[in-house]
């Protein structure tokens, strides 16, 4: 079953003269283990797509399903729970809480969801180890450089059972080798069974995806699907 399904999704902002068609009918499914990159000019609807997928915004028409659940049919409370349990969101500017340590940042969504402090910390430490920075658990974000901060943000996005990771320009603030390391991490998490959607303007990073979807004016204009590597050099 697809972890994420967008079914004929339309998102219109405003009305009348000032009406903006941010998305004009997008259908997209992301399976477990699959990483999809979304590229397109600024204003083409990439962030809108990600917000809808993460339940941070609602479509004007069409449906968004996360792990089979239609987000449109949920109450505010239920939606918040899906967001905490199923969806991990990675922001360009990391969005960590400065007053909390790395481990506390990662365990916060679990505790908000009722997990005991001890269990939440244990899962947070596991998640930090998964992203390669177990030794930074008790450090504060301000004491880390951009690469480790983004790793903490990814650990937070993937802690617990969450199967869908949404990342909006997660490498934007990083230098090229650190950006590459973050991509390797996202790739590894998807290879381990998560479904990922990555918004990026960097072709080198989009290339880590199984599929690259090109948006323009709220529509998918084209799609590049990965072929077997053996064919790569025969062209």
């Amino acid at each position: 079953m697809s972890v994420l399904v967008l079914d004929s999704v339309v998102r219109t902002h405003g009305a009348g003269e000032g009406k903006v068609n941010a998305l004009q009918g997008i259908s997209l499914s992301v399976a477990p283990g699959e990483l999809v990159a979304v590229m397109g000019p600024s204003g083409s609807g990439k962030s809108t797509l990600l917000h809808l997928a993460g339940g941070l915004d609602q479509p004007t028409s069409g449906r968004v399903l996360v792990e089979g659940t239609d987000l449109g049919g949920l109450s505010g409370k239920e939606l918040a729970r899906v967001r905490r349990r199923s969806v991990g969101y990675v922001f360009q500017d990391f969005n960590l809480v400065p007053a909390l340590t790395a481990a506390e940042n990662v365990s916060l969504p679990l505790e908000l969801d009722g997990t005991s402090a001890r269990k939440a910390r244990k899962q947070a430490l596991e998640s930090l180890a998964d992203v390669g920075i177990p030794e930074l658990a008790d450090r504060f974000p301000d004491d880390m450089s951009g690469g480790p901060q983004q790793r903490v943000a990814i650990a937070r996005a993937l802690v617990g059972e969450r199967r869908l990771v949404l990342a909006d320009e997660p490498t934007g603030a990083l230098d090229s080798t650190t950006g590459e390391a973050v991509m390797a991490l996202l790739r590894a998490r998807c290879d381990a069974g998560a479904a990922g959607v990555l918004v990026t303007h960097d072709a080198r990073h989009a290339a880590w995806a199984d599929r690259v979807v090109f948006l323009r004016d709220g529509l998918v204009t084209d799609e590049s699907v990965y072929r077997a590597p053996e064919e790569a050099l025969r062209t």
């Binding site: 590229m39 397109g40 000019p41 600024s42 204003g43 083409s44 390797a184 790739r187 303007h201 960097d202 072709a203 080198r204 989009a206 290339a207 880590w208 995806a209 199984d210 690259v212 090109f214 323009r216 004016d217 204009t221 084209d222 799609e223 590049s224 699907v225 990965y226 072929r227 590597p229 064919e231 790569a232 050099l233 062209t235």
Partner: protein, 188 residues
Amino acid sequence: MSVRHGLLALLAEQPRYGYELRGEFEARTGSPLNVGQVYTTLSRLERDGCVTASGASETGQRYYQITAVGRAEVTQWFTTPVRREDRPRDELAIKLALAVGSEDVDMRAIIQAQRTDSLRALQDYTRLKVRAGAQGTDDLTWLLVLDAMVFQTEAEVRWLDHCETRLVQARRPAPLHQPAGEGAEVTR
């Protein structure tokens, strides 16, 4: 002149048969060569005094050895930066330049088709890199060749984004697709 210098560089390492040169060149650079190219290049190198051919195997294969002249040429090649204008003409740049002047050609569709194709190539190179890394391959030559292809392809995609931005700014109507939104610009 990359085939000429590529073959010379291989001969600078050790003498080789012609067919060996072809296999080695392809294996190390990922870039295919046809037999004809190899032998015409070798005969030119022989004429120019860069290599000598000795003996012949039972199957009639000749064995090539580099000369001092050849060594000097390969050293010169390695130490001289590659100038852009020495590379083959870029067919894509020519195609787009001509498309600008052709009213019934959809530039944005051409750009997008090229971008998709370049991305697909990038996806392939990236997987090959990941695979080389996962196997602990310390084949530095192979990784450098892959990196070169990755960065060249990325540069091409950036250039295509740039072309599209220019196109949108110029507000040239696209005959087959709907026009772009006001003030749309490529992220970058």
